[in-house]
């Protein structure tokens, strides 16, 4: 090449690169004119707009969009925490005093009398936590007992806790989840608690606009959001219990995101539709089989172990569809939740009893049931979370002579009946914010249904019965409490794991699967977050970065 052409070639090359850059990237990121997202949930209606009450699938995403916490779990990948309304925090050496420094320039949404909202102060934060500690206004009041809240400056909040806990456990209480949402003090005090019930005022990326019972809730963007104004012009949350309607709405483009069925075949069918994408995300719920040791023959460890041997997690997972179902071995949450036992750890501890029909039959014969026995188990009508996996387990138990009849009831009745100690086996699907909560509510003696000091969801009666037949009452109460007050996170996890191994050794529960969620969406939806692990909302998180791309 002649020397004279070199500069021209360089200029042309640079121009080509620039043009590809401009038009290529520009084309990929071109936004649709219609920046409205309609997301449909498998629920008949909203249950509440009060963030400290929001627990249902259709309610949590609204709380998540309207409110913030002092810290938050990053959208779409909720494992660690990061700053939210607090820009920094520190803890005293004894772990009892936590001081949070608030971000400046964060404004509440407008409401009557405050057309431009008002700036968040420590008063609002203190008010919010006090409200979250009151059973009248919060479902999570128990989480805040022994805590006091104080505004030590306009932007500084001091929280004192009687008994110090480790950082992950403490920050979970002030995160943008459950009782950790920060509400507007002025809105509630000036407009009234009844008004606030139907008109939530927070600092989040979206502002509550309207609600039509059993139909929809509409949110509009908060242009003053401290992380930047949302790209979307409107978010519509629709309540649609019919899956075929949600499916058709997605196909016609009237809906952009829908709550799907937790079934592989359905997901595959939907994923094959044009302009639709589906990504399964986790973990969302763990499914476990709890033995009621207060009822015969489940008070006999040999029977429980036999049932455990008769069950094949892999088979249940295959029956449910391996794209969504993953076998689990931890009796408290499932990995990647910190502190949950992995399969390798349970194998090492020799507490895995599964997939061995011969051993199951041998144990049943030893227990005096050589031909098996009959039992009736109450189960919820909910297909993927309860009924379907139990049908798989029912077939597996048949192989060892156990005739397990399933009494299917509606979901509300199921929750009432199992709390009345009416079922010899309880198949339960749940996700809790951390291992401590899970262990406490499912295995602490205080939580035993009907008989505990604070009856909750300990269906097995562990802690009040002799589980392994050695004549002594078995319990993990001490380990749970020791772990709760352990400040060293590593030691805390070791204690949690010790408790879990003891539970598995005593065959109190058989962890079965964790079931991922699938929310099909239009291909043009760009959530702006990775959608890997979204336990706090049960749904894809819509944030200020969410947008709809042009086709």
């Amino acid at each position: 090449m002649k020397k004279g052409y070199l500069p021209y070639c360089l200029i042309v090359s640079i121009l080509i690169v620039v043009l590809i850059g401009v038009f290529g990237v520009g084309a990929a990121e071109k936004l649709s004119k219609d920046q409205v997202i309609t997301i449909a949930f498998d629920v008949g209606d909203a249950k509440t707009f009060e963030p400290h009450r929001a627990a249902a699938t259709g309610d949590r995403p609204i709380a998540d969009m309207v409110f913030n916490g002092l810290v938050r779990y990053p959208p779409g990948n909720q494992v660690a925490v990061e700053p939210d309304l607090a820009k920094s925090w520190k803890v005293s050496k004894d772990g009892k005093i936590w001081t949070f420094e608030l971000r400046k320039g964060v404004f509440f949404h407008p409401f009557p009398g405050y057309p431009n909202g008002y700036e968040l102060t420590s008063e609002d934060v203190v008010y919010s936590f006090k409200r979250a500690s009151t059973p009248d206004h919060s479902s999570y009041a128990g989480e805040y007992s022994g805590m006091t809240f104080e505004a030590v400056g306009p932007n500084t909040v001091k929280i004192t806790i009687e008994k110090p806990v480790s950082e992950p456990l403490f920050l979970a209480k002030v995160a943008s989840y459950a009782g950790g949402f920060i509400v507007s003090k002025k809105a509630i005090e000036e407009k009234g608690a009844e008004w606030f019930k139907m008109n939530p005022v927070g600092t989040g990326p979206f502002i509550f606009k309207s609600y039509e019972p059993r139909q929809k809730t509409v949110l509009v963007p908060n242009k003053n959001y401290f992380r930047g104004a949302p790209i979307l012009k409107e978010v519509v949350i629709r309540y649609m219990p019919s899956v075929s309607s949600r499916e058709m709405g997605l196909q016609t483009g009237e809906l952009q995101i829908i709550e799907g069925l937790k079934e592989d075949k359905w997901v595959e069918k939907i994923a094959a539709l044009p302009d639709v994408k589906v990504k399964a995300f986790g973990p969302c719920e763990t499914q476990m089989l709890h033995f009621n040791m207060n009822k015969e023959p489940f008070n006999d460890i040999r029977v429980r172990k036999a049932i455990s041997y008769a069950i094949s997690r892999e088979e249940v997972a295959t029956f449910m569809g391996k794209g969504l179902a993953v076998p689990i071995y931890s009796p408290a949450q499932a990995p990647p939740a910190p502190g949950a036992l992995t399969k390798e750890e349970t194998l090492k501890a020799e507490v895995v009893y599964e997939d061995n029909i011969a051993e199951a039959k041998k144990l049943l014969a030893e227990a005096g049931y050589p031909n098996g026995f009959k039992t009736e188990v109450i189960i919820s009508e909910m297909e993927s979370s309860y009924k379907k996996p139990m049908i798989a387990i029912q077939a597996q138990l048949k192989k060892v002579g156990i005739d397990m009849a399933l009494k299917v009831v509606d979901h509300s009745s199921f929750h009432s009946l199992i709390r009345e100690d009416a079922s010899p086996i309880v198949y339960y699907a749940a996700w809790r914010p951390n291992v401590d909560v899970f262990l406490t509510r499912f295995y602490h003696s205080d939580s035993v249904v009907k008989k505990g000091k604070k009856p909750d969801t300990n269906f097995s009666h562990y802690g009040l019965v002799d589980a392994n037949g050695d004549g002594k009452t078995d319990s993990v109460d001490e380990l749970i409490e020791k772990a709760r007050w352990e400040l060293d996170a590593k030691k805390q996890m070791a204690l949690w794991k010790e408790a879990q191994i003891k539970l598995l050794k005593d065959v109190v529960v058989v962890p079965i699967i964790r079931l991922k969620y699938a929310f099909p969406m239009r291909a043009s939806v760009d959530l702006g977050n990775p959608l890997e692990f979204s336990w706090a909302t049960y749904a894809p998180q819509i944030t200020e970065k969410t947008r709809i791309l042009a086709k």
Binding site: G44, A56, D136, Y140, P213, R214, S413
Partner: protein, 312 residues
């Protein structure tokens, strides 16, 4: 007639009272705690108890019943479990249920009568067999399933009508577009009823002596059919409009859910799921009142179109 109507309305009061008592008892017999259903299984015992007290569920059943009746007499239907006034909820959705029911009845009559006439006139012909099969399918197929099929054809394949929601009542075009498919799915079921009714009623009339007399007088078949036979055959068909409406109100529950339409049906199902006693009782009150009114109207219309009937 006025006295008769007043008497009937008063006679309905004990019936309403029995229905309301039954509803009140049945919703409470159902296992499931409204407070747990509302707060979720993660809520603490203290929070559940606090809500139970707030909702008045810890009061004795008889006291809850008396309070319910007292409020009802005052016209206060109370607030839903979420805190939304039930009266507003019902008033918001009632127009959607009424427009759906009325349109379905209209479609039923509009298609059913013209289909039933040839079936009766040409008994055992091809058109009769066709109509009988059509009405058999119509009577067998659930309206919500037909709705899904219609959605698939008209919305997914032809992209003509929306599938989500009830549209805006103040925007006629949006409202009609959202109404078309649910009304058609219920209307086609209604058509099946009316086709069968028209056919059998007309067949009976065509065998009457006065029809034979008319024919023997040399009157054309068209006049015999439309002036002498059909007018009399239509009496039970028209008079039974109220009964059809009651049937439709029942069928509309699932149709409203499938089309995600606002309406009394979807309100009721949602209330059952949430154990929302206040909303459920109120919707049942409205349903009961509607059935009583429709029955009364049926009786009145019968007398109006059939001079042989007198009110005493």
């Amino acid at each position: 007639m006025f006295q008769y109507s007043i008497r009937r309305i008063f006679q309905s009061i004990p019936i309403l009272l029995v229905v309301l008592t039954l509803v009140f008892v049945v919703v409470r017999i159902l296992p499931g705690d409204p407070a747990v259903a509302f707060l979720g299984d993660y809520a603490s015992k203290e929070s559940v108890q606090a809500l139970r007290e707030k909702m008045g569920l810890d009061a004795p059943l008889w006291l809850q019943y008396l309070k319910f009746l007292k409020n009802l007499c005052k016209g206060d239907l109370g607030k839903s479990i979420m805190g939304y006034p039930v009266t507003s909820q019902i008033l918001n959705v009632l127009p959607y249920t009424l427009e759906l029911t009325i349109s379905a009845i209209f479609i039923g009559y509009f298609l059913g009568i013209p289909l039933g006439i040839p079936a009766a006139v040409r008994r055992n012909s091809f058109i009769d067999y066709f109509n009988r099969i059509f009405s058999l399918i119509g009577l067998s197929i659930p309206a919500f399933y037909l709705g899904i099929l219609l959605m698939f054809l008209f919305s997914i394949k032809l992209k003509l009508f929306p599938v989500v929601g009830g549209g805006n009542l103040s925007d006629l075009s949006s409202n009609l577009r959202h109404l078309f498919l649910p009304a058609l799915s219920l209307g086609l079921i209604m058509t099946a009823y009316i086709t069968r009714m028209t056919r059998s009623s007309l067949l009976n009339i065509l065998r009457e002596d006065y029809v034979r007399t008319a024919r023997s007088k040399g009157i054309t078949e068209r006049v015999v059919l439309f002036k002498h036979a059909l007018r009399n055959a239509l009496i039970p068909i028209v008079a039974l409009g109220g009964v059809y409406a009651i049937v439709l109100i029942g069928s509309s529950v699932m149709t409203e859910i499938v089309f995600s339409r606002p309406g009394l049906g979807s309100l009721m199902v949602g209330a059952i799921k949430q154990r929302d006693y206040t909303t459920l009782q109120s919707v049942m009150v409205i349903y009961s009142v509607m059935v009583v009114i429709l029955n009364l109207l049926t009786d009145l219309v019968y007398g109006f179109i059939d001079p042989r009937i007198q009110y005493r």
